[in-house]
């Protein structure tokens, strides 16, 4: 049998805060993502969900536990994982085309193959005509689309997304969710998606992990059994969608109440 795209077992991550106090960001988290699954992590802010994602990317070192991508241990960042950040991370001196091409630097493909691939992805994200635009000429949504293309073009085993639409307005956010679903239908790969938006998690995911407050643990796992391909308008008014949403909101609210009971000094978001 194939090994899962991402396998996290008994992961714990601790930080030293400014006053040398030890903070446990992630505690004993285990999860598996299969090669064509879309999985989200939601939780209150500061619960360590981004830390978990960054550890999967190889950007944080866990104190305990193992992370495997496609069966290989993760020790540092690598091209078997693609990452999309919340902040804009396009290179401002490169055009749309050049930005996407940049991530193929380590690819063994020939130049014409790379060019064809880049154009394929520009088409996929609907930015034909903006190949030669610089990032500061693009809107926020367009920049994140380029960032997604840039993370997919080198064919990673898993796409890691850290609240990628968090900085966008509601309208753009919706069209980005549609675009992501569309892209994912075309290139089925494992996705680990971190968000604090319950609706977003239900719309996109096959499975949702709900994290508890700090120290972040997996509180509940919810399988989202909504048919695919999903259309946003129909989906958001369906009873099944609403019951998932209500269920998740309840779980999150419990965590938020718990959060307020912690003395303010330990409340480091």
């Amino acid at each position: 049998m194939d090994s899962p795209a991402l396998e996290i077992s008994q992961l714990s991550i601790k930080f030293k805060s400014n006053n040398q106090k030890e903070i446990t960001a992630v505690e004993n988290v285990s999860l598996n993502i299969n090669s064509n699954e879309f999985v989200s992590i939601i939780g209150p802010s500061g619960c360590g969900k981004s830390t978990l994602l960054r550890a999967a990317a190889g950007l944080e070192r866990p104190q305990f536990g193992k992370i495997r991508v496609d069966g290989h241990m993760v020790t540092h960042p690598g091209a078997d994982r693609g990452m999309v950040f919340q902040t804009y991370t396009l290179f401002p001196w490169l055009t749309t085309y050049e930005n996407i091409l940049f991530s193929l630097k380590k690819s063994p493909l020939s130049t014409p193959e790379k060019e064809a691939l880049v154009y394929h992805y520009i088409q996929m994200i609907g930015l034909e005509g903006f190949e030669n635009a610089y990032p500061n000429q693009l809107s926020g949504g367009m920049r994140q689309r380029v960032a997604i293309a840039r993370a997919l073009v080198y064919q990673p085993k898993i796409l890691l997304m850290d609240e990628p639409f968090g900085a966008l307005d509601a309208q753009t956010r919706m069209s980005m969710q549609e675009l992501l679903l569309d892209v994912w239908e075309q290139q089925r790969l494992a996705v680990l998606f971190v968000t604090h938006d319950v609706e977003e998690a239900v719309i996109l995911s096959d499975r949702i992990y709900v994290m508890s407050n700090r120290p972040g643990r997996i509180k509940t796992v919810i399988d989202v059994e909504l048919p695919r391909p999903r259309g946003l308008i129909d989906l958001e008014s369906s009873p099944a969608f609403l019951s998932y949403k209500r269920n998740l909101l309840d779980l999150i609210r419990q965590e938020s109440n718990f959060y307020q009971k912690i003395p303010l000094s330990e409340n480091i978001a």
């Binding site: 990317a57 190889g58 950007l59 540092h76 960042p77 690598g78 091209a79 994982r81 693609g82 990452m83 950040f85 902040t87 991370t89 290179f91 401002p92 001196w93 490169l94 055009t95 940049f102 991530s103 630097k105 380590k106 030669n132 635009a133 610089y134 500061n136 000429q137 993370a151 080198y154």
Partner: protein, 279 residues
């Protein structure tokens, strides 16, 4: 009557499209540049007025015509060109040596905490020492020739420049470095293809600013045992109370500094067109 009214309305609507003293607002570039030009003319007329009416003695402030005559005399005798080129040579050499050393060290300090921790306290200590205080030491170390002048210019420039380049390098957002590492790039590749590319416009601006500082250290550098240079000419003129020669020297330094500044500003716009989204 109606016609007059409409003309007036038109005028007022045109002038309403911008107001000169709105906070932070743009004004037509024509007005922007004329304001700068007019201010120069104003200062010049004030100068002419104070001197030609003998309100100020020519010993303290000679008139523009006296400075102009001095300019023609020095140009004719070849002193001016000789002084200017001697000074330019020292400035460029001092600044280039400083830059060649400051760029790699600044890059190391900006990227690796080890180098920052090791070097920053030391550099902070030295950069508050006035360059003029180093004149006696530099004479002991480097004699009275050109190398002593270049050493002073180096001391005046280097310690500031290193710290500024460190800050330029640090301005690269962490996420840009992290995302590059997810493409499988090595640390060296990230340094070369991402950090330096991002920091380059800032570093170029640091070049422009530090070269400007080098010009301000010129007189200090040519204070002792010089036989040519704009700074030397100023110091010598003081001894003989040739105020017009002092003013000419100061104007020349200002003018040459301005020219080097403009060269850097111009190349900045040519080199980093992506900053305003043009290829």
């Amino acid at each position: 009557m109606d016609q007059i009214l409409s003309v007036k309305e038109k005028e007022s609507s045109e002038s309403a499209s911008y107001r000169l003293l709105d906070l932070r607002s743009d004004i037509p570039s024509r007005i922007y540049w004329s304001a700068g030009g007019l201010f120069f003319i104003f200062i010049f007329i004030l100068w002419l007025f104070l001197t030609s009416l003998k309100i100020v003695s020519p010993l303290f402030l000679p008139g523009p015509e006296a400075v102009w005559d001095e300019f023609l005399r020095q140009l004719h005798e070849g002193i001016l060109l000789q002084d200017a080129s001697a000074s330019l040579y020292r400035i460029m050499l001092g600044w280039i040596i400083s830059t060649i050393i400051a760029v790699p060290i600044g890059i190391l300090m900006g990227n690796f905490k080890l180098f920052e921790g090791m070097l920053e306290p030391f550099i902070d200590l030295i950069r508050y020492m006035p360059a003029v205080a180093f004149v006696p030491l530099t004479i002991l170390w480097a004699g009275v020739g050109n190398s002593q002048k270049i050493l002073i210019l180096f001391i005046g420039t280097f310690f500031q420049e290193v710290l500024m380049i460190m800050d330029n390098v640090k301005s690269v957002p962490r996420e840009l470095i992290e995302v590059s590492s997810t493409f499988g790039l090595s640390r060296f590749e990230i340094l070369r293809d991402v950090i330096l590319r991002y920091a380059m416009p800032g570093i170029w601006d640091t070049f422009r600013i530090t070269l400007g500082w080098a010009w301000t250290y010129l007189v200090v550098a040519e204070l002792v045992a010089a036989s040519s240079g704009l700074g030397y000419r100023i110091m010598k003129a003081q001894r003989f109370l040739q105020t017009e020669s002092i003013i000419l020297g100061i104007l020349m330094i200002g003018l040459m500094g301005l020219i080097t500044d403009m060269i850097f500003k111009f190349t900045y716009r040519k080199l980093f067109r992506w900053l305003d989204g043009k290829g």
